[in-house]
C-alpha cells in the first residue's frame, strides 16, 4: 500500500512505528545489556541502561560452569535433523494433497493439525515410557523423531499452501512432455518450490530450537539441548541476574541471529495460506 504521503506524516508514523518496535524489542535488549554488567550494577536501582563497568565475566563463568558447546551442538542436530526428516516425509504428502486433491484432503489436513492440539503433558508419561522401553531416552535420534512428529503437521500445512500456488498447467505441460512423476517433482516442482521449502525449513528449525517441553522431559545429559541448559539456570533470587542474562543470551543468540539474517525468507513463508 505504498502511497505518497507528506514528509511530516512519514516522520510521525516513523516515530510511532519505531517507538512500538523498540518497546516490543526492549526485553531482549535489556537482557543483552544486563548480561554485560556486573551483578551489582545488574540490580542497581534505579536501573542503569548503560554502566561503566562492562564485563565479559558472566559469559566466561557460564562457559566454565557448563558444557555449552555440547548443548549447542545437540540443539543444532536436533532442530536441523528433525526439520530435514520432516521435510522428507512432508514434501511428497503436501505435493499429493496440493496437486491431486481428493474429497477428503481438507479434512485430512485438519486432522493432521488436530493431532497437535493434544497437550503434550497429557501424553507425557506414555511417551516417556515408550522412549524408556525403546532406548530412545536421552538420545539425539529420539528427540529428532519426537520433534519431527510434533512439527510435521505444521510442515505439511506450510508446504501445502505453497504448492497450491504453483499453477497446475506447468505440471501438465511437463507431463505432456513425458516427464515421469518423480522427474516432475524433482525438476519442475522442486525448483519452483525452493523458496517455500526454505521458509518452511527456517520456521521449523526455530520451532524445534525453542521447543522446551519434550527436550527437557526426554533428555537428561547426553542429548540435552539449549532449552535444558537454560532450565538448569533457574531463577535465583535476584542475585545472579547478570549470569542468568548471559546464559539466556547464549541460549537464544544463535537462533536470533539466524532469524535476523533470514527474516525476509521467513516472513514470506509465514503466511500459512493466510493470503490468497
Amino acid at each position: 500500500m505504498a502511497r505518497a504521503v507528506s514528509p511530516r506524516r512519514k516522520f510521525l508514523t516513523t516515530l510511532a512505528a519505531w517507538s512500538v518496535a523498540l518497546i516490543i524489542f526492549f526485553p531482549v535488549l535489556w537482557m543483552i545489556l544486563t548480561s554485560f554488567k556486573t551483578e551489582v550494577s545488574a540490580v542497581a536501582s534505579p536501573p542503569q541502561l548503560f554502566t561503566a563497568d562492562w564485563t565479559l565475566e558472566n559469559y566466561a563463568e557460564v562457559w566454565a560452569r557448563s558444557d555449552y558447546p555440547r548443548f549447542f551442538w545437540n540443539s543444532v542436530v536436533i532442530s536441523v535433523g528433525s526439520t530435514l526428516l520432516g521435510l522428507v516425509i512432508a514434501i511428497p504428502s503436501a505435493w499429493a494433497m496440493a496437486f491431486v486433491p481428493g474429497k477428503r484432503t481438507k479434512d485430512l489436513l485438519m486432522w493432521m493439525l488436530s493431532t497437535k492440539m493434544m497437550p503434550a503433558v497429557a501424553v507425557m508419561i506414555p511417551l516417556y515410557l515408550i522412549f524408556l522401553w525403546t532406548g530412545l531416552i536421552d538420545t539425539k535420534i529420539g528427540l529428532v523423531i519426537a520433534l519431527m512428529l510434533m512439527n510435521l503437521p505444521i510442515i505439511i500445512w506450510m508446504l501445502y499452501t505453497y504448492f497450491k500456488e504453483i499453477p497446475g498447467e506447468i505440471l501438465e505441460a511437463a507431463r505432456m512432455d513425458g516427464a515421469s512423476l518423480w522427474n516432475e517433482i524433482l525438476y519442475v516442482l522442486t525448483p519452483m518450490a525452493i523458496p517455500g521449502i526454505a521458509s518452511t525449513m527456517l520456521l521449523n528449525i526455530i520451532l524445534a530450537w525453542n521447543e522446551a517441553f519434550w527436550t527437557i522431559v526426554l533428555t537428561t545429559t547426553k542429548a540435552a539441548p539449549l532449552s535444558a541448559f537454560i532450565a538448569s539456570f533457574s531463577a535465583p533470587q535476584g542475585l545472579f541476574y547478570a549470569k542468568l542474562s548471559a546464559a539466556s543470551a547464549m541460549a537464544i543468540m544463535p537462533i536470533l541471529i539466524l532469524g535476523w539474517f533470514s527474516q525476509k525468507q521467513l516472513v514470506r513463508g509465514l503466511t500459512f495460506g493466510a493470503v490468497k
Partner: protein, 290 residues
C-alpha cells in the same frame, strides 16, 4: 487432470505422513486411556488394579478442576484477543511508509526467536520482580508501590508474557495479508469520502478475515498446551490461582506421582482440545476454503 494412476501415487505419497502421525497419536493415547482406569502410583507401585472411573471422578471433583479449565480458556482467549488486536494495530502502523522498515521488522519479530523458558525468566526476573525488576523501579520512581505481579496477578502476568511471545507471529501474518491488499481500492474509497474507520471496517477487515482465521487456528494449537511459561514463573500458584489444565496434570504426574490420575486428566485435556477444535472448525473453518 487426476488420472487413476496419479490418484494411486498420491495416496502412496500421503501414506507415510498419515501413518507416522497416526501412530504418534494413537499409541500414547491408548496408553493414557489404559492408565486412566488403573491404580498406578509411583510411591506405591505394588498396589495396582482397575479402578473404573475413579481417577476421572477424582479429577473432575477436585476443587482445582474448574478453575484449571477456566484458566486454560482464559489463557487461550486472552492471548488471542491481545495478539490479534495489537497485531492488527501494529501491522497497520508498520505498513505505512516509514523509514527503516527492514530493521523495524527485525525488532518486531525478535520475541518470536526467544525460547519460552528464557522469555518467562526475562519477564519474571528482569521486569516483574518486586524488588529488582525494572517495573518495580519504575513504580518506585513514580512514587507508587511495586506491583506484586506473580502473587497478585498471576494469570494476567502469564497471559501478558505469552502474548509478548506470540505478538510477532500474529503481527507478521496480519501484515502479509495487509500488504496484499490493493491500494486502488483504498484510494477509491478515500476519494469517495469514506472515513478512516469505515475504510478499515469495510475494506481492510474483510480482507484480513482469512489471516485472522489462520492466526487463531495456529495459536490455539500452541496455546492449549502452554506449560513452560507457568512452570518458570508462577508454578501454578499462588495456591492454584494460575493452574491450567496442563499444569494440573503435570502436578499429578510429577508432584503427586499419581500416573492414573494424571492420565485421566490427560484424557480430559484431549476431550477439551477436541471440543475447542470442533467449535473452531464450525466457527471459522469455512474461512479457510480455497
Amino acid at each position: 487432470m487426476a488420472t487413476q494412476s496419479s490418484r494411486f501415487a498420491a495416496r502412496l505419497m500421503v501414506a507415510p505422513s498419515v501413518t507416522v502421525l497416526f501412530i504418534w497419536m494413537i499409541i500414547p493415547l491408548a496408553m493414557a486411556i489404559y492408565y486412566s482406569f488403573r491404580l498406578y502410583r509411583l510411591i506405591s507401585p505394588d498396589r495396582t488394579g482397575w479402578v473404573g472411573f475413579r481417577n476421572y471422578s477424582w479429577f473432575v471433583n477436585s476443587p482445582e478442576f474448574w478453575l484449571a479449565i477456566s484458566n486454560t480458556l482464559l489463557l487461550v482467549g486472552g492471548v488471542l484477543i491481545i495478539t490479534i488486536v495489537l497485531g492488527t494495530l501494529i501491522a497497520l502502523l508498520i505498513d505505512q511508509p516509514v523509514w527503516g522498515q527492514g530493521p523495524l521488522r527485525i525488532l518486531v519479530i525478535s520475541p518470536f526467536f526467544v525460547m519460552p523458558p528464557v522469555a518467562a525468566s526475562i519477564w519474571e526476573n528482569l521486569f516483574m520482580h518486586p524488588q529488582n525488576g525494572m517495573l518495580a523501579s519504575l513504580a518506585l520512581g513514580l512514587g507508587m508501590k511495586p506491583i506484586l505481579f506473580m502473587e497478585n496477578y498471576p494469570m494476567a502476568s502469564v497471559i501478558f508474557i505469552v502474548s509478548w511471545e506470540w505478538l510477532p507471529f500474529a503481527t507478521l501474518i496480519l501484515l502479509t495479508a495487509l500488504q496484499s491488499l490493493s491500494s486502488e481500492q483504498l484510494e477509491a474509497a478515500e476519494m469517495d469520502g469514506a472515513s478512516a474507520f469505515s475504510r478499515f471496517r469495510y475494506i481492510i477487515l474483510p480482507h484480513m478475515t482469512r489471516a485472522i482465521t489462520v492466526v487463531i487456528l495456529i495459536q490455539t494449537i500452541f496455546l492449549l498446551g502452554i506449560f513452560g511459561e507457568i512452570f518458570t514463573t508462577t508454578q501454578g500458584g499462588p495456591g492454584s490461582a494460575s493452574t491450567t489444565l496442563p499444569y494440573m496434570i503435570f502436578k499429578q504426574a510429577i508432584a503427586a506421582k499419581d500416573i492414573g490420575r494424571a492420565a485421566a486428566g490427560g484424557i480430559i485435556a484431549v476431550i477439551l482440545a477436541n471440543i475447542v477444535a470442533y467449535f473452531l472448525m464450525r466457527g471459522i473453518g469455512r474461512n479457510l476454503d480455497a
